[in-house]
């Protein structure tokens, strides 16, 4: 108990805590019999930035959904911080997911809640006091440059702004791992670049960032590690030059 607390405090003091991800021979077959991932083995260091790429249907989303435990792997092990999350019991999932941030192409914002309330959702779920939550929400919103829009509703924002609200919600809990599935899918190149810059900032404070994107041009220009999937198999693994 005391050890728990101590370790948690240490991680907390050290800017943002981190998480390593290790796929070992992971296979995923959907209910209709389609095998979306075949024997994937990938190791992602804590605090690194990694791009998942490949054609549509290559298995990028499946990879991220397995990590979030939105899908169950049929074979293999997925170790996060050394613990096999495929074996986490159902009741441990909420606490597990609170330490992951997830961003989707269609951001999944609640239309009838303000920007502030959307971003505050993960904190509320975690039972944080309103006063503390407000500080965190404002910090996250200012990080994505939307502090002045906190009382707006999502539909009043541009697509790029909506995506940034989604990112603010994903990081407000200070997750150890940040996952993004085609976060720039709906954005023009300029905005896409801004979003990627944002992700780099989160990596710089120690978060492990994994971004799935089929925008080869954009991710090639950034110089981070690129894992390319093809028909559920590992095609290429290009180490990053910018990745310290």
């Amino acid at each position: 108990m005391i050890y728990d607390r101590l370790r948690w405090n240490l991680l907390w003091r050290r800017s943002w805590p981190v998480g390593s991800v290790d796929f070992r021979n992971v296979s995923k077959r959907y209910d209709n019999g389609f095998e979306a991932l075949k024997q994937i083995s990938v190791s992602i260091r804590e605090g690194s930035m990694t791009f998942l790429t490949g054609h549509s249907g290559a298995g990028k989303s499946t990879f991220l959904r397995l990590l979030l435990r939105l899908e169950h792997a049929d074979r293999g092990a997925i170790a996060v911080n050394g613990v096999d999350v495929t074996r986490l019991p159902e009741r441990a999932l909420p606490a597990y997911r609170r330490n992951l941030g997830a961003v989707f192409q269609d951001h999944h914002l609640l239309a009838n809640r303000t920007v502030y309330e959307n971003v505050a959702l993960p904190l509320r779920v975690g039972g944080m006091r309103e006063k503390d939550a407000a500080r965190r929400v404002r910090a996250a919103l200012s990080r994505v440059g939307l502090l002045e829009k906190e009382l707006q509703f999502p539909r009043a924002l541009s697509t790029g702004e909506q995506q940034r609200v989604g990112i603010a919600r994903a990081v407000v809990n200070r997750p150890k791992i940040l996952l993004a599935d085609e976060p720039t899918g709906n954005l023009d190149p300029e905005l896409s670049r801004d979003i990627m810059t944002l992700f780099q900032q989160f990596r710089q404070v120690g978060t492990t960032v994994i971004v799935a994107s089929h925008d080869r041009e954009l991710i090639n220009s950034l110089g981070f590690r690129i894992i390319e999937l093809s028909q559920g198999q590992l095609l290429r693994d290009i180490p990053g030059v910018a990745d310290g």
């Binding site: 607390r5 948690w8 979030l68 911080n81 050394g82 613990v83 999932l93 606490a95 999944h108 239309a111």
Partner: protein
């Protein structure tokens, strides 16, 4: 223990936020109240449905309580008439009188000799002359036994059985007709109440379950996102349990109002009806315990419906 925790979970668990549970309950309670009052028309409909479902069995329960209290302390004169064999010995009559007076539930015993009976009959029938022609008095000696106010049907039957078994007694007639009918009615109402109560309680549960189910469907988007960002099942379920509770409590309140209205409407005719049997209307059982019990019942049924609905629907919520 600490080691175990670290090794079965990727992250060390943060210290639990103190009072988080209470804070969330307070927040959800007020939000649910706001949600229901924002949809007042729908909520009123649900409350009315549950109220009616509760009012009927509750009304029957009240009726039954009152009927059994009526049969319990009836002001009329329940009693038995004991007819002796003709030419019975005086010692036997005295023994039966002593036996009757020894019963705790017996209030008074009158002895009517054959002569008394004949006199009374002549007076009553106006057949004096013709009866004078009879050689012997055909009427038996008899006793009229009245019971104390506290006596009930069972006491009456006991006394009749005991006296009927005495020597020299020819026949015992129980003067109880309306008392008996009332008791039979009371037990009918009782059974009806149990059957209807069960059916209508099921109805109340289904009404809340359906309403809660609709509320869940309406908030499915939100539930998905909450699940994605790590909401526990208890967290997801909480607002809906409050819905159920509030629906049920509101239904209980409506049931109370309905019952009060019915009592007001029926007060006069009921008093007249019961007054004709020498009783005044004095509704028993419509007291604080009854009111609190009805509210509590409503709350419990509503909560149960909500548990059913959320158990059935929230388990299958797909996260994005």
């Amino acid at each position: 223990m600490a080691k175990e925790k670290v090794s079965t979970h990727p992250w060390p668990s943060p210290p639990r936020a103190r009072f988080a549970w209470f804070r969330d309950h307070a927040r959800v309670a007020s939000e649910s109240f706001g949600y229901l009052s924002a949809r007042l028309a729908t909520s009123l409909l649900v409350w009315l449905l549950i109220g009616i479902a509760l009012a009927l069995p509750a009304g029957l329960f009240l009726l039954q309580t009152n009927l059994s209290s009526l049969t319990g302390d009836w002001q009329g004169r329940p009693g038995v008439s004991v007819y002796f064999e003709r030419g019975v010995a005086k010692t036997h009559v005295d023994a039966v009188i002593a036996k009757a007076e020894a019963q705790a539930s017996v209030q008074q015993v009158w002895h009517i000799t054959p002569e008394d009976a004949l006199e009374e009959f002549q007076e009553f029938s106006g057949l004096a002359e013709s009866l004078d022609l009879l050689a012997a008095n055909p009427l038996p000696s008899s006793l009229k036994v009245t019971l104390a106010n506290s006596a009930d049907v069972v006491d009456l039957q006991d006394v009749a059985r005991i006296l009927g078994a005495q020597k020299g007694v020819d026949e015992v007639v129980i003067e109880k007709t309306w008392l008996e009918r009332l008791a039979a009615l009371s037990s009918l109402v009782n059974r009806l109440g149990v059957v209807l109560g069960a059916m209508f309680a099921l109805g109340a549960v289904l009404v809340t379950a359906t309403s809660v189910r609709l509320a869940i469907e309406a908030r499915l988007d939100e539930l998905r996102v909450q699940k994605l960002v790590g909401a526990s099942n208890a967290f997801l379920r909480r607002p809906f349990l409050y819905f159920g509770l509030l629906y049920g409590l509101g239904g209980g309140l409506i049931a109370l109002m309905l019952l009060s209205a019915v009592l007001l409407l029926l007060e006069k005719p009921l008093a007249t009806l019961l007054g004709s049997y020498g009783s005044t209307l004095n509704v028993v059982g419509f007291d604080f315990t009854f009111l609190a019990g009805l509210m509590l019942l409503g709350g419990v049924l509503g909560l149960f419906g909500a548990v059913l609905a959320s158990q059935q629907r929230l388990g299958t919520v797909e996260v994005v």
